[in-house]
């Protein structure tokens, strides 16, 4: 098990290998389909982003609503390939870690190699289990998107698996052979 504290440098991310189990602590940002679209548009329009992407991690999640006296609702990963067309502009800005589940397209993998990023997977559907590792949650942008709003999360010991590393090694291909 490798312990990581966010944010991360390119050098640290380049050391990660497909198949590594990591425990992540620190700050994560949530963004899924609609938030990605808005962020990419903001880059085109040269407007400010909800957070500086350099060294950061994005978790693809649209949590269920928070019950009173809770930090967050159920918060498992959503399927990542839907973000593929909207990922490369973020990698260019220094996005280091993407957390989701499922396959990524070759163009994204090539850009990860070029810019030095890793794709980590969480267990899909285990939203109740994963929410236990989330200690703080605050909506910081695009409130109008509801479940898809950008949230800043503080996590402790969130257990993830490195699925695609910055050399392009893909655990899905390796495991199924």
């Amino acid at each position: 098990m490798i312990n990581l504290r966010l944010p991360l440098s390119e050098e640290e991310v380049r050391k990660l290998k497909a198949g590594d189990i990591v425990s992540i602590s620190g700050t994560l940002y949530t963004a899924r389909d609609a938030a990605h679209k808005k962020m990419c548009q903001a880059i085109v329009d040269k407007k400010e982003l909800p957070f500086d992407l350099d060294g950061k991690a994005i978790y693809y999640v649209g949590p269920s609503p928070t019950k009173p006296n809770s930090v967050i609702g159920s918060a498992g990963p959503t399927t990542s390939y839907r973000m593929d067309d909207l990922t490369i502009p973020l990698l260019k800005r220094g996005l280091r870690i993407m957390i989701g589940k499922g396959k990524r397209g070759q163009k994204v993998i090539d850009a990860m190699k070029e810019y030095g990023s890793a794709y980590l997977v969480a267990i899909g559907g285990a939203g109740a289990y994963i929410s236990n590792s989330i200690k703080k949650c605050q909506i910081i942008a695009y409130d109008e998107l509801g479940a898809e709003a950008v949230r800043k999360l503080e996590v402790e010991n969130m257990i993830l698996t490195v699925c695609i590393d910055s050399n392009g090694n893909n655990l899905y291909d390796i495991s199924c052979k």
């Binding site: 649209g62 269920s64 019950k67 399927t79 559907g125 939203g127």
Partner: protein
């Protein structure tokens, strides 16, 4: 003639939606346990263990098993000797869904398809009706997440493609889905009818408990054979390898036209949430 007030339907629907999203069906949990014992891969064993823990945490904390609490899908069997007083049954079901998803802290994921404007209460629900004899009202609910729904496919096979064509298509869909639909999956297959009927029966098959087979022996044998074949692919839990790619392959059939052989493969994730109530 039996009279049922629409408020009673609304209330029951609300309860079954909340209950369904939080409490996983025992047959699914038992299937996780059985498959965990059979798995040789440590990674696969560990993931199945997390899924068992997830079900326990969801129940204890009363929060949804998965953040995607789905689109609400219903199959309703309505006795023809019933009169519903108040709202129409469709309105009553939708009101129940709205109250469940708003009051029950379930995620509202339903949007207009092109402009993507959220309806804010997870309505409208998808409802399939069947009229039957008698004076009972049976309502089955499932929360259908779209990580798995997006991996579903339809194919209009030629009659000459036959059973081999069907088997090949099922395996192709599962392989292409890979890790995306949150394996271990439940593979729902509709064979026959028209485009719409075929999709409807593939969905209906997902409402079964794990271990429940088609009553027709020939179809049951096909389900058992296809589950073995699907699990030989090696996708495994979460696509990280192993024997447990699927917990079940459920097949429903309907007579079709001499010129066609429609097949729909509708995939469900491991969070197979469904409930039934009989009024």
């Amino acid at each position: 003639m039996r009279i049922i007030n629409s408020l009673e339907i609304e209330e029951q629907v609300k309860k079954m939606c909340i209950d369904g999203c939080i409490n996983l069906d025992e047959s699914v949990i038992n299937s996780f346990k059985e498959n965990r014992d059979k798995e040789e891969s440590e990674v696969a064993k560990n993931i199945l263990g997390v899924l068992i823990d997830n079900a326990k945490i969801a129940k204890e904390n009363q929060i949804p098993l998965c953040q995607d609490t789905g689109m609400a899908v219903f199959f309703v069997k309505m006795g023809q000797d019933i009169h519903i007083e108040g709202d129409t049954i469709t309105d009553a079901i939708n009101k129940g869904v709205s109250r469940a998803y708003v009051d029950g802290y379930l995620r509202k994921s339903v949007v207009s398809p092109i402009q993507r404007i959220n309806t804010k209460d997870n309505t409208p629900a998808i409802i399939h009706y069947e009229m039957v004899k008698g004076n009972k009202l049976e309502i089955e609910y499932a929360a259908k997440g779209f990580g798995s729904e997006n991996m579903s496919q339809m194919k209009m096979l030629k009659p000459s493609d036959g059973i081999e064509g069907i088997k090949e298509f099922i395996l192709k869909v599962v392989k292409e889905a890979g890790p995306n639909p949150c394996p271990p999956i439940i593979v729902g297959v509709g064979i026959g009818g028209t485009v719409d009927k075929c999709a409807q029966i593939s969905k209906k098959s997902l409402f079964r408990e794990i271990g429940e087979h088609n009553e027709n022996q020939f179809i049951k044998d096909l389900e058992i054979e296809m589950l073995e074949k699907v699990n030989e692919i090696g996708i495994g839990p979460q696509g990280l390898g192993g024997k447990t790619t699927a917990l079940a392959v459920n097949i429903e059939t309907f007579p079709t036209h001499i010129a066609g052989l429609p097949v729909v493969v509708n995939i469900n994730c491991h969070s197979s949430r469904h409930k039934k109530v009989i009024l």
